[in-house]
């Protein structure tokens, strides 16, 4: 019984995750996470706890949809230092990154 309810709780998360993850091969995922840590990290902190840019922790990002965050990642925020990453990511890569941020990236 208990195991079943855990399964039920976990399933939707896993399923929404896999829909996009399927398109990004593991080596590219590793590249994206490395870039997140080091290159996004130069403004957001290597542990994403904030720097010149705000913290990108699940708690702080909870009020945003992953899709909204993906738009910010791709287009940046004009007038602020947040640059557009469009030249380097596809739509699904940006969405995958946004989902990682919302889930909490392993540090």
């Amino acid at each position: 019984m208990k195991a079943l309810s855990i399964l039920l709780l976990v399933m939707p998360v896993v399923m929404t995750g896999t829909a996009v993850q399927a398109e990004i091969v593991p080596p590219r995922q590793a590249e994206l996470l490395y870039l997140l840590k080091h290159d996004c990290g130069s403004c957001h902190g290597m542990r994403l706890e904030g720097g010149l840019g705000p913290a990108l922790t699940p708690k702080r990002l909870q009020s945003w949809q992953a899709e909204q965050l993906a738009v910010t990642i791709l287009h940046g925020r004009p007038g602020t230092p947040m640059p557009p990453w469009r030249p380097f990511f596809t739509d699904s890569e940006a969405l995958w990154l946004a989902q990682q941020l919302k889930q909490g990236v392993q540090r």
Partner: protein
């Protein structure tokens, strides 16, 4: 009894044992390299190009910077997690470590070596500590601003440097100010505020003679200049048309102004949102030239004799270094150390330069005269490199 005293004497005679492996040597040819991911430091020898100690446990060192005590024995490391760590480089160990704030970005040591100032992103402001035991001496909150979430917070403080006459100078990112903090009476910090210096100052530097403080601006073209001999004149905007009204390119890493690059009367500065190094005449602060370069410059650093300028770049051009001749203002060499070329540091008189190459987990050492690679040192995800010669330079 006798055997006990013999034991005691033997211990005294073997400093290697009784002093727990501290070195007995000068430190003028030493330095530290920050291993940003591991949160550790390598203590290095710049004469023999080798590692002397590995010091662990310094916390989050992304974006870490460091200053030296005037006896060049202790290095104070400012970490992202608000950590301030005092390390004894002769013994390779932490003397004291405190968490002084939520999120720090850099610091400075006072003219007389007695005070360590730290600037914080969160909570914004400057804290000043005793260089001796890191006890808190002054806590100076920043101007309050309202952020995008509608919360009140202290402005981020950036570009903190030491200045002559026991002062510090710092800029406030969100509120667009520069402050002079006079610490001649440590019990009563005297603050002089300069408002409306320009939009979003992101870093600052002081000229080696300690006279001019310059804040780089992210929110507009130009830089803000403060003459510390005449603070009553206020700040003024220089190079305010360097972008010539053209659209800015995206900036994937903020430039740093810490390594002041000056040769004869010319100063070399990174442009923001342009792939250019700005050359300015330090007599009238007018633009002499814009040198087109490979990408968004991050560090623009002069060899100590001012004969060459070495430049590294922001993502996605961060695999490259360019070398500029300060007389002809031409690029004389383009090097490809590797991806994640993050920082450089010249040996005290500039015959060599040490370059951090993050993705290769190594520091590369080049002869500046020939620009040839001479040595490699394995270092885990290296970022900042800081040599002890900084101890005697204002602003470093």
């Amino acid at each position: 009894m006798k055997s006990l005293s013999i034991l005691f004497f033997t211990m005294l005679l073997m400093p290697g044992i009784s002093l727990a492996d501290c070195l007995t040597r000068g430190t003028g040819d030493m330095g530290v390299i920050v291993e940003r991911a591991a949160g550790s430091l390598k203590v290095v020898d710049t004469t023999h190009h080798n590692t002397l100690f590995q010091v662990e446990g310094l916390g989050d060192l992304s974006h870490a910077s460091a200053v030296y005590s005037r006896d060049e024995r202790y290095v104070y490391v400012f970490g992202r997690d608000g950590g301030l760590t005092k390390v004894d480089i002769l013994c390779g160990r932490i003397v004291k470590r405190i968490i002084q704030g939520g999120n720090s970005i850099g610091g400075a040591i006072s003219q007389d070596g007695s005070l360590i100032a730290v600037s914080n992103y969160k909570p914004g402001g400057v804290k000043i500590f005793s260089a001796d035991d890191l006890s808190l001496i002054a806590d100076i909150p920043a101007t309050t601003v309202t952020d995008r979430d509608g919360n009140k917070k202290g402005s981020k403080t950036v570009g903190l440097v030491d200045a002559p006459d026991q002062r510090f100078v710092v800029s406030l990112y969100d509120s667009g100010e520069s402050w002079i903090i006079d610490m001649s009476d440590p019990a009563k910090p005297a603050i002089q505020r300069f408002e409306d210096i320009g939009s979003l100052p992101y870093d600052g530097l002081i000229t080696p003679n300690g006279r001019y403080y310059i804040a780089g601006l992210f929110g507009q073209d130009g830089l803000s200049l403060l003459d510390l001999w005449h603070p009553e004149k206020g700040t003024r905007l220089i190079l305010d048309d360097y972008g010539r009204g053209q659209k800015k390119l995206p900036v994937y890493k903020m430039p740093h102004l810490e390594g002041w690059a000056m040769a004869d009367d010319r100063a070399f500065l990174p442009a923001v949102g342009r792939h250019a190094v700005l050359v300015v005449d330090s007599k009238d602060w007018k633009e002499i030239k814009q040198i087109p370069v490979h990408g968004q410059p991050v560090f623009v650093m002069a060899r100590p004799d001012g004969r060459q300028i070495w430049v590294n770049f922001a993502f996605p051009h961060n695999d490259t270094i360019q070398v500029i001749d300060t007389e002809t203002l031409e690029i004389i060499n383009t090097l490809k150390p590797g991806k994640g070329t993050l920082h450089m540091e010249f040996s005290p008189r500039g015959e060599s330069v040490w370059i951090s190459v993050r993705d290769k987990d190594e520091v590369q050492i080049y002869a500046t005269r020939t620009q040839e690679l001479t040595h490699r040192l394995p270092v885990d995800k290296p970022s900042g490199i800081f040599f002890t010669s900084r101890a005697h330079q204002t602003g470093l």
